[in-house]
Symmetry: C2
Subunit: 147 residues, 2 copies
């Protein structure tokens, strides 16, 4: 993996295979859309962007591809508010800042040793943590001040 987390074609293909999926142009296209603009788009947004390059791609396929890519560890799924699910190709450990004013989403790196020291009651098996920070982004904070 290089600096921005982009994978070579063969790495991408391998990752799909080990997850039990085949390589398909649609899956590649959906993944490319996610890499091109890292603004945590919704499935609908991905569909719109993917159609520009691949006009025949269908809505259902975008959902299928997104699910497959999440399942094989190439994408993360992010739930932030009542709206649609968003997707993120950054697989480094990070959390999300969500601006409650403009709905934008930013990746926020977590300090090296971060796993929140939560102690779970006996019997619970934790698989992953999702941390979301709600607040106001710099642009909206500035806009608010002027008011």
């Amino acid at each position: 993996m290089n600096a921005v987390g982009k994978k070579t074609g063969s790495e991408f293909s391998e990752r799909l295979n080990t997850g039990g999926f085949r390589f398909t142009p649609q899956r590649q296209q959906v993944y490319d859309v996610l890499l091109q603009k890292r603004d945590h788009p919704t499935a609908e947004e991905v569909f719109i962007r993917a159609k520009k390059q691949m006009p025949e791609i269908s809505h259902a396929t975008v959902y299928n591809c997104l699910d497959a890519l999440v399942e094989c560890g190439l994408l993360r799924q992010v739930q932030l508010d009542r709206g649609a699910t968003r997707f993120c190709p950054n697989m480094r450990e990070h959390c999300h800042f969500y601006c409650d004013v403009c709905d934008s989403v930013y990746d926020v790196d977590l300090p090296a040793k971060s796993q929140p020291g939560v102690s779970l009651p006996k019997g619970f098996k934790a698989e992953r943590y999702e941390i979301a920070i709600h607040g106001v982004c710099p642009d909206c904070a500035k806009a608010k001040m002027k008011k």
Copy 2:
């Protein structure tokens, strides 16, 4: 507030007032439903339960009430998966354990000094943190073992 976080009628009413809302029987009913079974129900679930006591209550009212109660700090809204938003009357600092197998949700207390030491880039104003732990609950873990 007593041990389980339940508020007296007048505390409830005051909280609404300071948020700029009136007391209404529907708001009380919705809040009571949340207190009665702390399983993080969805709006639809709240609607079904509220109707048992108040058969004329409408769908839209349940959404309105939930939003009002969230806005005045009597409920928390919780986003865990692609499904419907859930609601929680526990206003102590806590996070959520979500069982990916059976969709159940559990409150998990956070250690006293907990605020994840995330340093936000300049300009971002954090208002609240939401931590979700995805994994397998004790019941589902047991069921898995038997297999």
